[in-house]
Structures are given as structure tokens and as C-alpha cells.
């Protein structure tokens, strides 16, 4: 009888482990290739031909399936957050390259992220941008006033706190608002390619990368050079965003689509002007 009891306890342990590893196991049978509908609210819609060229490959079905089964750890465990950092060095470098040289017609999300959004890129690009802006702002101030006898150099450390707040708020709140807006439009118009929240955060984070060399070059104290640089970087990163989100809103009412894209670009421009 003791052996039976021990055997039963072992069975319970196994069952508990299985449930902990895959909490959706009771609701979905593993045999059917069905994506759990509650994973980030993503909808699996029938694709149209025009979307295929932007979607990159035809096996994105499978990648979505794999992604749906990947993030199955409960959110209070450390492993859940580890799934967001599942990138290698070359992948991050590829994504950065994709954001700096946007290929017209290719969607950044489908081409590079492919259902593996990471938080490493957005977080560290924002951190680098904060410190780059603070350092280069300080340096440019120094060079503008170089040679004037009354100038006393001060390290303006307040810039760091202000820049940090502004950039991290932009990188997280604007994607949140955009995601909410897209979800709301999704409920009204069915055929829209939709992105998960993390993918939107990813695109915004990587699109900010162009501002880093711009901030470094901003040290040059010539006004013309600065304006040219700013407009150039705004166009580059804005185009990444526009090309990503245009397929998501173009099925909608024409005016709303244009307004959405216009707002995206506007916020991006505001950030550029404010920081630089």
C-alpha cells in the first residue's frame, strides 16, 4: 500500500509539472495546429495576396504557431521574461541594420522580427540614446561657448533625468496607445494585419536607433548641419514606422488611416525636435 501511495504522489508531481509548463494544456489539444486565441490578442486572419509580398515568407504560419507555443510560462516566473530576451548578437545587429536602411516595400516586423520580439533592443537602445543625448548636449554647449572668457563649464546632469523620462515614456506609452487603437479598429474592421504589443514596442525601439548617430553628430555647432541631420534621421526612422503600420490601417476608412499614420509621424518629429 505504501508503494501505491508513493506511486500516486509521483503521478501527481508529474501532472503538476506538466500543468505548470503548459497551462493551456487543458483547453487545447496538442494534436491540432490551432493557435491559442488569448496569446496577445493576435487574430489569425486569411491573408490576401497584397500582404504576401510584405509578409516576407509563406511559413509565417508556422512561426506564429511556434511563437504561440513558446510563451507558455506563467507570467510570475523568471522564464516568462527570459522568452523576451531570446536573441543572439547577430540577430540584434540585423534588426538594427534593418532599421537604419529601410527597404521600401519590406515590412520591418515581418522581415526581421518574425514573431520573436525582444526587449533587449528597445531597452538598451533607449538607454544609449538617453546618455548620448546628455553627453552630446553637454559637449555642444561647451563647443558653442568655447573661447568666451566668461564661460564656466558645468556638467548639466539634470539633462539625464529629463531625457530618460521623455525617451522611455515615448518608447512605452506611444506603442501602448497605438496598440490599443489598433485593437479597437480591429474589432470594427476585420481584415487588418495586427501586431502584438511587444512587436510594436520592438519596432519603436529599433526605429530610435537612427537618433544615436544623429545625436553624436549634433555636436557640430552649425545650425544648417543640425537641421539637415535632424530631417534626414526623422525621414529614416519615420519611414520604418510608416512602412510597418501602413498595412495595418490601410483597409480602414481612408481618413482614419491617414490620420493614424500622420499622428505616428508627428509624435516621432516631436521627439526629435524635443531631444535634439
Amino acid at each position: 500500500i505504501a508503494c501505491l501511495v508513493i506511486y500516486l504522489f509521483a503521478e501527481f508531481d508529474d501532472a503538476a509539472n506538466l500543468l505548470a509548463a503548459n497551462p493551456d494544456a487543458t483547453t487545447i489539444s496538442i494534436d491540432e495546429p490551432e493557435i491559442p486565441k488569448n496569446q496577445h490578442g493576435r487574430l489569425q486572419e486569411p491573408r490576401r495576396e497584397e500582404d504576401d509580398e510584405l509578409l516576407g515568407t509563406d511559413d509565417s504560419d508556422k512561426t506564429e504557431l511556434l511563437a504561440g507555443q513558446k510563451k507558455s510560462a506563467p507570467f510570475w516566473t523568471f522564464d516568462y521574461y527570459q522568452t523576451f530576451f531570446d536573441v543572439d548578437t547577430y540577430q540584434v545587429l540585423d534588426r538594427i541594420k534593418g532599421s537604419v536602411f529601410p527597404v521600401p516595400g519590406k515590412n520591418f516586423v515581418r522581415l526581421y522580427i518574425r514573431s520573436n520580439p525582444d526587449l533587449y533592443g528597445p531597452f538598451w537602445i533607449c538607454a544609449t540614446l538617453v546618455f548620448t543625448i546628455a553627453v552630446s548636449g553637454n559637449l555642444s554647449n561647451f563647443f558653442i561657448h568655447l573661447g568666451k572668457p566668461t564661460y564656466h563649464y558645468v556638467p548639466q546632469f539634470r539633462k539625464v533625468s529629463i531625457a530618460a523620462t521623455a525617451i522611455y515614456a515615448y518608447a512605452w506609452l506611444v506603442p501602448l496607445a497605438l496598440w490599443g487603437f489598433l485593437m479597437w479598429r480591429n474589432s470594427k474592421v476585420m481584415n487588418i494585419v495586427s501586431y502584438s504589443f511587444l512587436e510594436i514596442v520592438c519596432v519603436y525601439g529599433y526605429s530610435l536607433f537612427v537618433y544615436i548617430p544623429t545625436a553624436i553628430l549634433w555636436i557640430i555647432p552649425q545650425k544648417v548641419v543640425r537641421w539637415v541631420l535632424m530631417i534626414f534621421s526623422l525621414c529614416l526612422s519615420g519611414s520604418v514606422l510608416v512602412m510597418t503600420f501602413w498595412p495595418a490601417v490601410r483597409d480602414d476608412n481612408r481618413r482614419i488611416a491617414l490620420a493614424t499614420v500622420g499622428t505616428i509621424v508627428l509624435f516621432h518629429a516631436l521627439l526629435a525636435v524635443g531631444c535634439l
Binding site: 558645468v154 556638467p155 548639466q156
Partner: protein, 217 residues
């Protein structure tokens, strides 16, 4: 115990065996006996451990002593001394000064925690406090640089002193980054080493920047 009431052991059954405490199998770290030692011994042991780690940082070889016996005394002392020396750079108004003590302290500790979390999320095998320990001890070259900068600034604050300070800070920054990378890079998966090293580089760069731009009142 009702059933045992009628069990009796006759007095002439010999009970054999030894009841002695085996001396040889005392626990291997013998920490239980440190209660009796003089206080000086206890303090000196900790100080020697901290000192040995400082020597490890100065000559970074791949030894595991720094990782195995982590402690946070060294990082605390370094951080506090660095923050004290950096405090209150010149300020024209309230807003334009250098970093205050709390800002330096928070940047160092919060930065070290974020880097440790980052390396753990990327799949590193090092433990949380070991990583904090290494990052904290590797601030030592930058603290030395700060000391040198302050001494140089006492002598004067012209271009020559700036060049000397620049060279010293850059050298110490390189030393810090190399030392911490030597200790931490082995515990990462091989195709993510770059991802782990970059935040460490950024961290020491920010501290070096604060040291370099320090101007006295």
C-alpha cells in the same frame, strides 16, 4: 503507549555501543568555532578577503575566487568613496551642477542591478550577487582615476591638466571594462557575449564621463 506497559527489559541484558561525539567528522568549514576567536581575527579575515579581491581586479586573470566568495563590502566602499569625491561639482544654479551623491549612488547600484538582470535574462549562469560583486569591484580603477583627477585639478585646471585627466580616465575605463569582461564573459552563452558586454561598456562609460566632467567649485 498502552501496549508497552507490559514490556520489560530484564536488567542483565547488556546494552552495547559507544556514545561519543566523533571529532573527525566536524563540519568542514568549522564556522561554528569562530565565536570564540578574538574580534580582530574576524575582522582581519574579512579584510583579507576584500583585499585579495582588489588584487584580483588589478591583475585580472581568470580565477574563480572572485566569483565563488562574493561579498559586497568592497563595492560599497568604492561606491561611497566615488560618490563622495564626485559630489557637488560646480553649479551656477541649482539645476546645472554635477551629479549629487544620491544620483551617483543610484546610478552605480541601479546600473549594476540592471546589467545583472540583463545577463541573467539572456541566459547567463552566474548568480545575481556574484555578478553584482564583480561589477562593483571593477569600479576600483575608476575610483583611482577619480583620485588622480582631483589631485591634478588641485594643481590647475588648464588644457594640460585636461589632457592628463583624459588619458588617465580613458586608461582606467579600458581597464575596468576588460577586467569585468574577463570575469563575466565566460558565464554567458557564446553567441550572446556581445549582447552582455555592451551594457557593461555603457555603464563604465557613463561613470567615466561623470569623472571626466567633474569640475571643482
Amino acid at each position: 503507549f498502552a501496549g508497552l506497559a507490559d514490556v520489560s527489559i530484564s536488567g542483565d541484558i547488556p546494552v552495547e555501543g559507544e556514545i561519543t561525539v566523533p571529532v573527525g567528522s566536524r563540519s568542514p568549514d568549522e564556522d561554528y568555532s569562530t565565536l570564540d576567536e578574538p574580534v580582530k581575527d574576524t575582522i582581519m579575515r574579512d579584510l583579507k578577503a576584500v583585499g585579495k579581491k582588489f588584487v584580483h581586479v588589478m591583475y585580472p586573470k581568470k580565477s574563480s575566487a572572485l566569483l565563488r566568495d562574493w561579498d559586497l563590502w568592497g563595492p560599497l566602499v568604492l561606491c561611497v568613496s566615488l560618490a563622495l569625491m564626485l559630489q557637488g561639482g560646480s553649479a551656477d544654479s541649482k539645476d546645472d551642477g554635477g551629479p549629487q551623491f544620491a544620483e551617483v549612488f543610484v546610478i552605480i547600484w541601479f546600473g549594476a542591478v540592471v546589467i545583472t538582470l540583463n545577463s541573467k535574462l539572456l541566459g547567463g549562469t552566474i548568480s545575481f550577487f556574484q555578478s553584482l560583486c564583480v561589477l562593483g569591484y571593477c569600479i576600483m580603477p575608476l575610483t583611482v582615476a577619480m583620485l588622480v583627477c582631483r589631485l591634478v585639478l588641485l594643481a590647475g585646471s588648464g588644457t594640460i591638466s585636461f589632457i592628463i585627466r583624459l588619458i588617465v580616465v580613458v586608461a582606467m575605463f579600458g581597464w575596468s571594462t576588460l577586467a569585468s569582461t574577463a570575469f563575466l564573459a565566460d558565464s554567458q552563452p557564446p553567441n550572446r557575449k556581445g549582447l552582455v558586454v555592451y551594457p557593461i561598456f555603457l555603464f563604465y562609460f557613463v561613470i567615466s564621463w561623470m569623472i571626466l566632467t567633474f569640475t571643482p567649485q
